[in-house]
Symmetry: C2
Subunit: 448 residues, 2 copies
Amino acid sequence: MRLMYNIREYMAIMNDQELKRLIAEIPIHELIEVWDDLSEDDELRIFSMLDLEQKVDLITSLSISTQEALIKSLTGDHARLLLAEMDPDDLTDFIQSVSPEVRESVWNALSEETKKETQFLLKYDSDDAAGLMTPRYLAIRPSLTVAQALAWVRKSVRKIETVYYIYVLDPLNRLVGVVSLRDMLAAEDSDLIDQIMIKKVITVDQDTDQEEAAKILETYDLLALPVVDSHHRLLGIITFDDIIDVIREEQTEDIYKMGAMGGSTERYLESSILDLVKKRIPWLIILLLAATITTNVIAHYQAVLQAAVVLAFFIPIVTGTGGNSGTQSATLMIRGLATGELHFHDIWRVLLKEILIGSFMGICLGLLTIGRAMLFPPLISLNEAVAVGTALCFVVLLATLVGSLAPIIISRLGFDPAVMAGPLMATIIDVSGLTIYFETARLLLHLT
Amino acid sequence: MRLMYNIREYMAIMNDQELKRLIAEIPIHELIEVWDDLSEDDELRIFSMLDLEQKVDLITSLSISTQEALIKSLTGDHARLLLAEMDPDDLTDFIQSVSPEVRESVWNALSEETKKETQFLLKYDSDDAAGLMTPRYLAIRPSLTVAQALAWVRKSVRKIETVYYIYVLDPLNRLVGVVSLRDMLAAEDSDLIDQIMIKKVITVDQDTDQEEAAKILETYDLLALPVVDSHHRLLGIITFDDIIDVIREEQTEDIYKMGAMGGSTERYLESSILDLVKKRIPWLIILLLAATITTNVIAHYQAVLQAAVVLAFFIPIVTGTGGNSGTQSATLMIRGLATGELHFHDIWRVLLKEILIGSFMGICLGLLTIGRAMLFPPLISLNEAVAVGTALCFVVLLATLVGSLAPIIISRLGFDPAVMAGPLMATIIDVSGLTIYFETARLLLHLT
């Protein structure tokens, strides 16, 4: 039983001293879990009881609007202390997102040095590698000995976000090497940095996409990734914790795209109704307009439908099962393309695989439909059931192929398959699925 | 223009020496991107030209089956060297996944010490925190001075995966503190570890779920997270790079669930047809059987349909738009529940928000449908268009509510909303959507 679950009851009955002792026992990550459930007064009361480091851990894990409310509640000096503890990259994100009045008071609370750092970081696009970086890194010259460098590290250790990689710069501030603190410790005191540094430094450019930067850091299991300009001068470093944030953010974006939504990844409860509508309605309109083509298809088969109204019963099954099969294939392709496992030249292997899978699944689902139609109401004739089942089999095969090929082709054309595949695929599957359905039924049932 | 794009052409015309010089210029992350496109012979030729560290970076980023092929190709001594460089946690994953014959030869190539480590790690479930840990951490006693501890760190630095946190154990090997290398460097040589160590160590239990471990490491921006047993004895540490892998894996799982698939997150091209069918067909069957209820609904309104066959034209629009609106709401809820932003007690706020959003979107989409129906073929009467548009408005509102409430309620009941919400939601929306559609049409068109 974790303490946090009862925090609200405790708060009502405890005085400040008792509560402070209780709060001291609660790990910050449990506090974060229930934070949104507390009243604003309780939030402020607890927040005031945390020590500075806990405040920073807590505040950087909360949403921007909650951060804003907490910072606003602090008096000038307290805010100053807290802001001084935040990493400059987190601070820059915060300043970019808060409301103008808070931004001004936050800005005034910053030290001159932090203001300069922040101004420097604000120049870069927040989706680029440079938007993630901190300018607080350790840099030395290659001519130092290990003993001199270690002494320098020990002196600078408090001001720096990551002390575990030390970057080596030439007189023009170009990045010529990197030494890990580990290698430095393993070396002899008299060794020159120039001798022990790694000269082929893994870097990213300032305008490298943040997702690409994440992949590079992951590949080499780096703690930090240096960002350089076009002259190979070191601008800053991206630390692994910012990369984890990027991975989470991209994940939310991908999931929203699959759920047919665009726009921001702002939290649900904090988004205004207007924001949510703006994120959702464009896709619904596009999908609806595309789907209206199906009305023309069905209208085209009006005579068939009037001759066998039973065919209308199965329209949702045809479009639904087609859609589901297509979504499965598309999901596998989109994920494979995103992780770099699949490429355009794999298209023939994919096609072969999906033809086999689609045929097999189509036959199973077709037989299942025939069985279901014969055994349960609405009872229909065997001929009709066979027609529906046969059509469904073809629809599943078709949907599987469309679902797998559409993302590969869209991605080859340079568009984002996660966004484009949905509406295009749904329309093609619905329209051609219904055509197959009515044509098969017409042939097998000998209708006009 | 990156070198890698032409690697296959280069390989054909270059001798080994030239190729080796070329390969030395290519960063490993670019090599990984194109690796699957190379022939097996080319893979082996390039692999043999890499130095040991590059081999390790490359191999740990590849899929298990590619790893297997590469390791198999190495002679005993080369394999031994490579395996000795791999981290014990990566090695354990590898041993658990390879085929039995490779496992045996890999096992024989391990040093006695590594065998022991691996045997220890194999005891734990790979989805638990303990399944991610490495036993290679630095541990010291609290009675050492900083100078003594630093000397010990410098001696051990080569054997250890993470030297940047040093764990402090009591004589019973219980974790009593942690010192970062940074704090140690900032302290005076004569300080006692006991004085400078952090006593409230953030830990996870051996059976903590890996996703929970990931969230904790993220909250505190830690480089590594210690895993303890029930007596608070230190078993091993989880490093940030393994946490990044966990986040990626969970992401693939979530996306597959949303695409209505279960089972493994094995790569597409490496999965057998049977595996893919097993992953996909159960969901298609469940969704198909659930959807067959719609046949009963439509059959129930057979008379209405025969009186106005035009109503059949819009069936795919009703189910499709309902499904899309529901999916949007459900996606927002599932993501909010997964990130911990939404809780059951937010249900009333969500309900209110979705009623407003659903009504607004319903009215827009309803009007759009009426406009589309009046302007483009198949031309229908104004009355019919109004009936369809009105029905669609209600369907969108209903779908929005079902899509938002289903995940919250399912999660409250202790099930995974990402898995359960799909079929349940689709069925409810299709069945009640079609009922609303036919009832509205019957009323407005004064049918039977």
